[in-house]
Structure formats: structure tokens, C-alpha cells
């Protein structure tokens, strides 16, 4: 009965990860429907802003990046392809990449302050756990992150929330490059299985 691309039964009743609504809205947005875009905004803005803020850390910059991301969603809605993944993952991927671009360009312009702020991300996992307390979705993520080895967890969270490249992570954790690559991959795989992410 379930549409083929619907979420798993044990999955997404609270998070709407596979949100058919969002996918439909995006196809309306692709035709220039501003009302549909307002609903998209309502569904994704807090997630986009929260992620960007976590990576970029500066409030004013995060607001700008969030604006860029949402405008990009409007601009390229027609390019969203459901076969490639959920609509929300598409939006979050744009958000993460924009946030990373911002962090890396700040780095390139030798913005030392910003660099120092990023290096302060000693315990991204704890911070996440703290800031997302009480949310079911976050509880599950927290539990799943706890199931990783510490090297897997640090590799994955430093990269994702800290915005570090795998080379930087290797340097920070003083482990060889191939090890970091491997830990990022098997860490994410374990996380995927624990979260019950649809494949």
C-alpha cells in the first residue's frame, strides 16, 4: 500500500525525514509558486539555520548563509531529483556545503579569529547532545552516536559539525589519513544502520 518511497514504518513519524509533502512542495516551488515556498520555509528554515549555525558559529554569518541556502532552494528547486534522495536531505546537503564554503573561505582569507573559533570545537558531540536535549530525534541520534567507537564518533562529528576536512581531522586527532577515511565511512555506516535510514 505504502508508496515505494515512503519512510520505513519504524522511522519518521516525528521527524518527517522522508516527507512526501516537502517533495510535492518543491515541485510547486520549481514552477515559481511562492506560497509553496513559504511552506517549504516553515518546514526547513530551523533545520537549515541550526546546522549552519553549528558549523559557521557566528550568528550574523549564519543568518546570511541561511538566506543564501533558502534562496538556492528556490532557485534550483527544479533540479531536485527524488531518485537521488529525500527532499530534506537535498536541502540539508545544500546547507552543509554552503556552511563549509563559508568556513573555508574565511580560512582562506586568513581570518585567524574564525579559525581559532573553529578550533574551539573540542567536543562537538557533547555540544550537540546539549543543545538538542529533549528532542526525540536528537535523542535517537545521541544514542546512535554513543554506539560508535570514539575515533569513529570524533571523525564524523569533527567533519560534519566542525566543518573540518578529513586531512584536518587526521591532524587534529593525530591519526593517519587512511584511518580517518575509513573511520568516517564505517562510522557513518554504523550510524545509518542505527538510525534506520532508508537505503
Amino acid at each position: 500500500m505504502r508508496p515505494e518511497r515512503e519512510s520505513r514504518p519504524d522511522g519518521d513519524h516525528h521527524g518527517g525525514h522522508r516527507s512526501p509533502e516537502l517533495e510535492e512542495l518543491l515541485s510547486s516551488v520549481a514552477r515559481g509558486d511562492r506560497t509553496a515556498f513559504e511552506r517549504v520555509y516553515a518546514l526547513v528554515a530551523a533545520r537549515v539555520y541550526g546546522l549552519v549555525l553549528r558549523v559557521v558559529r557566528d550568528r550574523a554569518h549564519s543568518e546570511e548563509v541561511t538566506q543564501e541556502v533558502l534562496v538556492e532552494v528556490w532557485r534550483s528547486a527544479a533540479r531536485y531529483d527524488p531518485e537521488r534522495g529525500s527532499a530534506l536531505a537535498w536541502v540539508m546537503t545544500i546547507a552543509h556545503r554552503r556552511a563549509i564554503d563559508r568556513v573555508r573561505s574565511a580560512q582562506a582569507s586568513t581570518d585567524r579569529e574564525n579559525r581559532a573559533a573553529r578550533l574551539d570545537v573540542r567536543r562537538p558531540f557533547d555540544e550537540v547532545a546539549e543543545s538538542v536535549q529533549g528532542r526525540l530525534e536528537s535523542e535517537r541520534l545521541r544514542r546512535c552516536l554513543e554506539g560508535l567507537t570514539s575515533l569513529q564518533r570524533e571523525s564524523v562529528t569533527f567533519a560534519y559539525y566542525g566543518g573540518y576536512s578529513y586531512r584536518e581531522v587526521a591532524e587534529l586527532l593525530t591519526v593517519p589519513l587512511p584511518t580517518v577515511k575509513t573511520r568516517m565511512r564505517d562510522g557513518l555506516i554504523r550510524l545509518r544502520d542505527c538510525l534506520g535510514v532508508e537505503r
Binding site: A46, V71, E72, W74, V156, G187, R192
Partner: protein, 256 residues
């Protein structure tokens, strides 16, 4: 073991790729090419990307309410992309081919465009090789000013503001130069930002930091097609994607 990939199994990059942790453009492109040939890998990336996105959602924070107004205002000025080319959708249906990995391309193109626009104005001060930059700007500057079709417009700041702006345009050089003098110093959390204004489109032409005498370094850039005015606004440090205050200076671009 594998000579073409420097002894590393490309598959191991899947995690780093899904986490956007490959900062070497060439390495990422190679991996994407590999994904185009390896259906299994593309499938894995999909799951891992989805997983990374879950990590992102767990960090949700409500943005300030005014952000929505800004976004809604901006989309009114942004042309939407058409759907991907038929070639891409055909290859997508076949699950093979050389379709690019979403949404890297558009995001990067847009990011580069934005970064380029923002960078132009600050290059002269921030670039690693300052002297070479200054020389280059001077060469460009000279080329514009010496062009036979160079036209100059100068205007004072709007009422209540301090400063004078000058724009010199040469259509034959496809360049414009912007200079300002007498600008008031700004607090740390604010910056001057220059804009090129065309009907229905406003683009940043960079952030400006006046010296103690209120002079800015000259901005040399290409005129936007259709741009009719240049504006200078005061924005929060780091700049804005759209002007958020009334322009302090507004200059009509000299007609050709």
C-alpha cells in the same frame, strides 16, 4: 595496489564525501567520476548523505523572524533554474552515465559567484601578495581611466551622510572603477558594501574599508549587464547578500 588512485581504494572516500570533508577539488571530482561508474557506490553515498542530513536536522534552531522577509524579498529577484538537461534525466533513468552529483554544481557555481563578488573589493587589502595585487589594480585602474570612452560620475552622500563617491566606466575596457572619499569610520560590527544595481537585480560588488582619511581603495570590476546604478550601504560586518539599509551613496552609471 591501485596505481591510478595512488594506492587508495576510492571506496574509502565515501564517508568523507558524504560529510563534505574532501577539500581537494580534484580529489572530489575524481571520486564523483568514480560514482558515475559505480552504481553500488552511488547507492551507498545516498544512504550516507541521508545519514549526514539527519545529523544536521538534530541541530535545529529557529532563525530570527526577519530572515523570512529577507528571503521572500530576495526570491522575487532571483531567476529560477530550469529542470536539468534531458541528457541528465535520460542517464539518470538508466542509473548510469555521467550525470553530475547533485547539488554540488549549482551550489559551487553560486558560491563562487558570490565569493568572487564579495572578494573583489577586499582583494587589494587581504591578498597574500599585497604588492602584486596593488600593481594589478593600478594597471586595471590606469587602463580604465586612460580609455578614450571613460566616463566619470561623482555624487555626494545622501542627506545626513558623509562622503563622496565616484564611478568611472569604460565600456571598451568592460571595466568600472569605484572610489569613495570622506566616508565616516564605522564600528567593528559594520562595513561598507558596494552594489551594482540593474532593474530587478542587485549584486554585491564587494566590501569596502576606508582608511583613516575616509578614502577607499579603488574597486575595479566589470559592469553588470544592465546595471544602471551603483550604491554604497552600511551593512553588518561580513556583508549582506542584499542591501539592508538605505544607500548612503547612489550613483547613476554613466551612459555609453
Amino acid at each position: 595496489m591501485n596505481a591510478t588512485t595512488g594506492g587508495h581504494d576510492p571506496h574509502t572516500l565515501a564517508g568523507a564525501y558524504a560529510l563534505d570533508a574532501i577539500d581537494d577539488e580534484l580529489e572530489r571530482r575524481r571520486f564523483e567520476e568514480h560514482l558515475d561508474r559505480c552504481a553500488e557506490c552511488a547507492q551507498e553515498i545516498r544512504g550516507l548523505t541521508e545519514t549526514a542530513a539527519r545529523m544536521g536536522q538534530a541541530a535545529a534552531v529557529e532563525p530570527p523572524a526577519w530572515l523570512k522577509d529577507r528571503v521572500m524579498a530576495e526570491i522575487g529577484q532571483v531567476r529560477q533554474l530550469p529542470p536539468a538537461l534531458t541528457r541528465t534525466s535520460a542517464s539518470r533513468r538508466g542509473r548510469t552515465g555521467r550525470s553530475r552529483w547533485w547539488p554540488r554544481v549549482t551550489a559551487v557555481v553560486a558560491a563562487v559567484a558570490t565569493a568572487a563578488a564579495v572578494t573583489v573589493g577586499v582583494l587589494a587589502i587581504q591578498a597574500r601578495d599585497q604588492l602584486e595585487q596593488v600593481r594589478q589594480v593600478n594597471r586595471d585602474l590606469t587602463a580604465v581611466i586612460a580609455a578614450p570612452d571613460a566616463r566619470t560620475i561623482t555624487a555626494p552622500a545622501a542627506q545626513g551622510g558623509a562622503g563622496t563617491g565616484t564611478v568611472i566606466v569604460s565600456r571598451s575596457q568592460d571595466r568600472l572603477v569605484f572610489l569613495a572619499a570622506g566616508l565616516a569610520p564605522l564600528p567593528q560590527n559594520q562595513t561598507y558594501q558596494l552594489w551594482q544595481i540593474a532593474p530587478g537585480q542587485i549584486r554585491s560588488a564587494g566590501l569596502l574599508r576606508p582608511d583613516t582619511g575616509g578614502h577607499t581603495a579603488p574597486v575595479v570590476t566589470a559592469p553588470d549587464p544592465g546595471a544602471t546604478q551603483m550604491g554604497l550601504t552600511v551593512e553588518p560586518a561580513g556583508g549582506s547578500t542584499r542591501p539592508s539599509t538605505q544607500p548612503l551613496l547612489l550613483l547613476n552609471m554613466p551612459a555609453t
